[in-house]
Amino acid sequence: MTQSPNDAQNTVEREEMAFDVVIVGGGPAGLAAAIRLRQKNPTLGVCVLEKGSEIGAHIVSGAVIEPKALTELLPDWKERGAPLKTPVSEEKLLYLTKQGSIPVPALHLLMPQMDNRGNYVVSLGDLCRWLGQQAELFGVEIYPGFTGAQLHIEDGCVCGVITGDMGVDRDGNHKSEFMPGMILRARQVILAEGARGSLSQDVISHYKLRENADPQTYGLGIKEVWEIPKENHRPGFVQHSFGWPLDNHTYGGAFLYHFGENLVSYGFVTALDYRNPWLSPFEEMQRTKQHPAFRPHFEGGRRIIYGARALSEGGFQSLPKLTFPGGVLTGDCAGFLNMPKIKGTHTALKSGMIAADAVSEALRSTNPEAQTYQERLQNSWLWSELYEARNIRPSFSKWGMQLGALYSGIDSMIFRGKAPWTLHHPHADHQTLISAKEAPKIDYPKPDGTLTFDRTSSVYLSNLSHDDNQPVHLKLRDAALWNEVNEARFASPESRYCPAGVYEANTRDNGETYLQINAQNCVHCKSCDIKDPTQNIRWCPPEGGSGPNYPSGM
């Protein structure tokens, strides 16, 4: 199915290994599934593949998390030393104008979804590192630095995962250290790749899992971690904003959390169904720091980490069919994030746990499909939570930010999520751009080098590792189509939405224009795979261990 960047890879001899369950992705969903499987049956052979060089290396999140799913998974998480150290102490939701800000009063009444009392500010990367250690204590085998590159399908049933080849050069030739990927056979495969997983995309199209669902919609989250002077640090302070600098058609906003040892997590989420091709999510993130409601928090501090990641925003209506012969979808690659709450960690953990229950039951039967997964989900709090939140996100696309906010208040307060209608997501994100000529240009301020920065100095703080001499993992299927559509109609939007500066519209000596792809800068956010107007760009996993190395605190 998925061709790895090196299409020749199907011709090599592959070693095989067999497990009961292979899990692709070591984020909250995958690790929760792994732990739960071994809790239920300590004899199961469970293997987790993670494309990052270590667990946590590719995790980008806020994150304010609800501890409830974690408590169900590991009730003694405190004693086990889970890195949930900063309880939320103070909370603000601001509507921004260019210079001013209006706090939303009585937040817990007006927007009960935003009430963060009892939640914790964490580094999700660190939480995953800790969950990985717990999983190993339960006997799970974790293999960081190995990608799930292809599904292994026999007789219409997914029977395992093929790991990526290592040691292939740019032109597809084998280098001296070439190591072919292996076939990891599994009786069930759990996909836990997070938003826009590459194998998940394959499985959804191969088994037509989206036939009765809305398209998935996404947001792009771009984040910085700052270290600030101790005297300015307010552990547990949580602030969200909407409004300025985005226009009324664009959903998104900033978050800022104080946590840990003098750290501030700041980020900006832009919904990828935005219309204006001139928009740059990176620069929206940068300029929001200059707003009086944000600026003081960075005073005297230094930026230490940078990263970006897409999140699934579609919610309930966009959930595909969740099982297929030989496996299941969990977490963000299925779309379990609760958008009004901007939280997907507790739902990822919970979906992983429920998947594990269904999978361990399926292993005892002859049915290749874990059929009880859907029913178990429907009987859980996860399902009602997503159902009640279902109309909020689409109302913003339908009526814009201001009316959407009004509708959301009514939906939450009066109907409490039980309104007798369901709003839909009519478009996929790649269908929403208007032509560059019709759209207003946006004048972004130049970076000042202390509070605001350019992409190059930002990506430097993602600790990228990417052997240049490997096949390009961002494939432009049809170069001419880029000239015709991306360049001519949309003025090369990828050069603005890519948070890592991978894409540059360039001119050859003979005057021809082309898309230059600096693949070694890619931070694996997946936005190009989502937003490219003709779906001409395809993200494939590069060699295992490539990509960002987000340190502790991310």
């Binding site: 070693e15 250290e177 190591m179 080098g449």
Partner: protein, 250 residues
Amino acid sequence: MKVLVPVKRVVDYNIKPRVAADGSGVETQGVKMSMNPFDEIALEEALRLREKGHAQEVVAVSIGPQAAQDTLRTAMAMGADRAILIRTDAELEPLAVAKLLQAVVEREQPGLVSMGKQAIDDDMNATGQILAAKLGWPQGTFASEVIIDNGSAIVSREIDGGVEVVSLTLPAVITADLRLNEPRYASLPNIMKARKKPLETIEAGSLDVDIAPRLKVVSVSEPPAREAGVIVESVEELVNKLKTEAKVLP
């Protein structure tokens, strides 16, 4: 012949080191650690010597905290037969490391010590040389090629502007330079097998070696941020700036 490969656990080479807020050193808390890249090369060379039949056993040794076990598991996943951890939480200088390695050499009696030319954290480029001196063995440093022939090692050394070829009588110490080889990846089955290979732990304190530090770090600071460039309009302006601002012209 047995080959001993010292491997050091260092901050991963992809991580941009960050000086701790109090200027006492580089932040290592929660930072990804890996095997020193030159040690991977030294290990690869030892594995190739074994594959060519010159060596029968490859033993990896690391000196450091309990977590250095991970580095040794990686060494065994790449192909080392067994591993020894000399466990200590102390800050070590090359002299102390060399003394501890000397104790391991006396116990293990290898025919060759294959190690990195330098560790990328402290950049001392000293341990191999000190070890050779302490043992009274010949040394081939900055090796870019190693040929074992009849009880001696022919080592090509990368020196300024060329290559120097030396012949060493074994046992000897060789330190690996970048171009010696391309280290292999650890495959999944080998990572699994490495979990069952023997890893012995010896407390550094039990080796009767003085590892007290001799050096004091006065301060650690980040290099100054690069200043933004300017585009000059004319040659005159450039020359003028070189004289008055950069002060590189009289």
